[in-house]
């Protein structure tokens, strides 16, 4: 009996440990292949170069165009996702009648479940032609349309985490405000949002990290042009869509071209890791607050 219990516990323990091995695996693979890459390409050139042409006969390995493409699409997505996500979280947490909230929340979850490749289709064949009605100079591939669609895609994440944080603000704090004659609007903005600040910040950070890592929407609709630009009307390439582009081709294992995707992956991983850590720390702070 006791041995059986022991065996079971050990098995469960190693299952839990597996998650650590995944992280280790990611770090080791990325580091190993990037190391091979940086033996041939100077780190300085990589991080400061403004031309990314790794597959050309005379390759150039400046990552900045991919980083600028990533930041540009991310920024557009955030301009859409953060206000919409926060405002709808306020609505759901402070205004919506209980019944309506119970109905809207599952539908918002469905919004998060639509496959990203379908969102990519929308960006390329629906939003871009639509925007071209107003912006005739907009090219068929551009940063703005996948950026907006990504923003819509992220809204449910931002809104659900923000709403959880606002719901965690105890009712007696709100009552203190209402008892002074404050409206819901005043209570939401002057009391609930400041009190839920860490959680809302965590939601924003999660949104940023998700936008940075999103792949298919930009791979489909942003074009595959490593442009060092911050003009949303032009086609761009992100870190993620570059990896897709190389993976689709026939790049032999072990070559420098093959290793570029790991160098790009490493850059991407570090960027999201930075935001994930901040987000984790912020969420931990909410749990301690009440």
């Amino acid at each position: 009996m006791r041995i059986r219990e022991r065996i079971i516990e050990t098995g469960l323990f190693f299952s839990a440990l597996s998650s650590v091995f995944i992280t280790l695996g990611i770090v080791i693979i990325l580091t190993y292949e990037s190391f091979g890459f940086f033996k041939e390409v100077a780190i300085v050139e990589f991080f400061t170069g403004t031309t990314w042409m790794p597959l050309f006969a005379e390759p150039k390995f400046g990552i900045l165009p991919l980083v600028s493409g990533t930041l540009l699409t991310t920024a557009i997505a955030l301009v859409v996702a953060l206000p919409l996500g926060l405002i709808s979280a306020i609505y759901l947490s402070e205004y919506a009648p209980h019944r309506l909230r119970e109905m809207i929340k599952p539908v918002l979850e469905l919004l998060a479940a639509v496959p990203t490749v379908v969102y990519g289709y929308f960006a390329l064949f629906f939003l871009t032609p639509f925007l071209q009605n107003f912006l005739p100079e907009l090219s068929g591939f551009n940063a703005i349309s996948p950026g907006i669609i990504m923003g819509i895609m992220i809204v449910p994440y931002v809104s659900s985490v923000s709403e959880d944080a606002m719901k965690a603000v105890p009712m007696y704090i709100r009552e203190g405000s209402y008892a002074m004659g404050a409206t819901k609007f005043q209570t939401a903005f002057k009391v609930v949002i400041p009190a839920a600040f860490s959680g809302i910040a965590a939601a924003f950070i999660m949104g940023i990290s998700r936008a940075i890592g999103e792949t298919m929407v930009v791979a489909i609709a942003a074009g595959m042009m490593p442009n060092f630009t911050f003009n949303p009307m032009e086609p761009v390439q992100t870190l993620t869509s570059y990896i897709v582009q190389v993976s689709l081709g026939d790049v032999p294992h072990g070559t420098i071209e093959y290793r570029t995707i790991f160098a790009a992956g490493m850059t991407l991983f570090l960027m999201t890791l930075f935001f994930n850590i901040i987000g984790f720390w912020l969420r931990k702070r909410i749990r301690e607050a009440y």
Binding site: H98, E175, Y178, A179, M180, A182, K190, V191, P194
Partner: protein, 258 residues
């Protein structure tokens, strides 16, 4: 008790209150005298807090609540619980201090200034003056005058509660409601709050719900004993505690139930 001798601030007339199907207050009639302390006592669930929260329409925050009857506010003779009266208008005139200190996650200064800011007042001169006056009124000024910009949650429990009193005072309320204001505090902080309540009645009419009968005896001029949603007995506090006319009241104040 002669009605003509007292000056009324408010009066409940045939007040009934329902939480959905639950009939929580039954036919309440009671006067509130101006610039006196009226205490509501009774066992848990007797409806005393429910009654108190009618005075500033806190029940309007939750669905399925329903008032019947009147609470008349003098001298304008408006019916506080009338559906035509905006609860916000009522709450701007009738402030409340809660069971658990509930300062906002803001600075001491902003907590006190909150009610004025809600009213759209933002002139620094007016705010500064109101904050100092209210903090003095709540006997907190000396303790916090050097750190008005530090966070309110860093204060002790008793100080937080006095801050909440200052917050309620800042808008010059006509009635101040206290919902068991000392139940979360230690004895020293409690006696400070009690002294403050006795002092405050020179300026404002006070209604206090309390669990603690000694507290009612110490701070109030009138006491109402409530049981199962009804007022069993209402009279001068001395009378209630020395010669109650109802057997239930007597059993409660002598500690035989409740």
């Amino acid at each position: 008790m002669t009605r003509s001798a007292i000056e009324l601030k408010a009066e409940a007339k045939n007040l009934n209150f329902y939480y959905g199907p639950v009939h929580a207050l039954k036919n309440i009639n009671m006067p509130i005298e101006r610039r006196k302390v009226t205490a509501l006592i009774g066992p848990s669930g007797c409806g005393k807090t429910t009654f108190l929260r009618c005075f500033n329409r806190m029940h309007d925050l939750y669905p399925h609540n329903r008032y019947e009857g009147e609470i008349i506010l003098y001298p304008d003779k408006i019916n506080i619980i009338s559906p035509e009266i905006d609860p916000i208008e009522i709450r701007m005139q009738i402030s409340m201090v809660f069971q658990k200190p509930n300062p906002f996650p803001k600075s001491i200064y902003e907590n006190v200034a909150y009610g004025l800011r809600v009213r759209g007042i933002s002139r620094k001169g007016i705010l500064d003056e109101a904050v100092e006056k209210s903090l003095r009124g709540a006997a907190l000024w000396e303790e916090v005058k050097g750190r008005l910009n530090s966070l309110a949650v860093d204060l002790s429990g008793g100080q937080q509660q006095r801050l909440c009193i200052a917050r309620a005072l800042a808008t010059g309320p006509r009635i101040l409601l206290f919902d068991e204001p000392t139940s979360a505090l230690d004895p020293t902080a409690t006696s400070k709050i009690e002294e403050l309540i006795i002092e405050l009645k020179n300026e404002v009419t006070i209604i206090i719900v309390t669990h603690n009968m000694q507290q009612a005896a110490r701070v109030s001029d009138y006491t109402a004993f409530m049981y199962l949603g009804e007022i069993i007995e209402f009279d001068k506090t001395d009378k209630i505690f020395t010669a109650p006319s109802n057997r239930l009241t007597e059993e409660y104040i002598t500690g035989r139930f409740g």
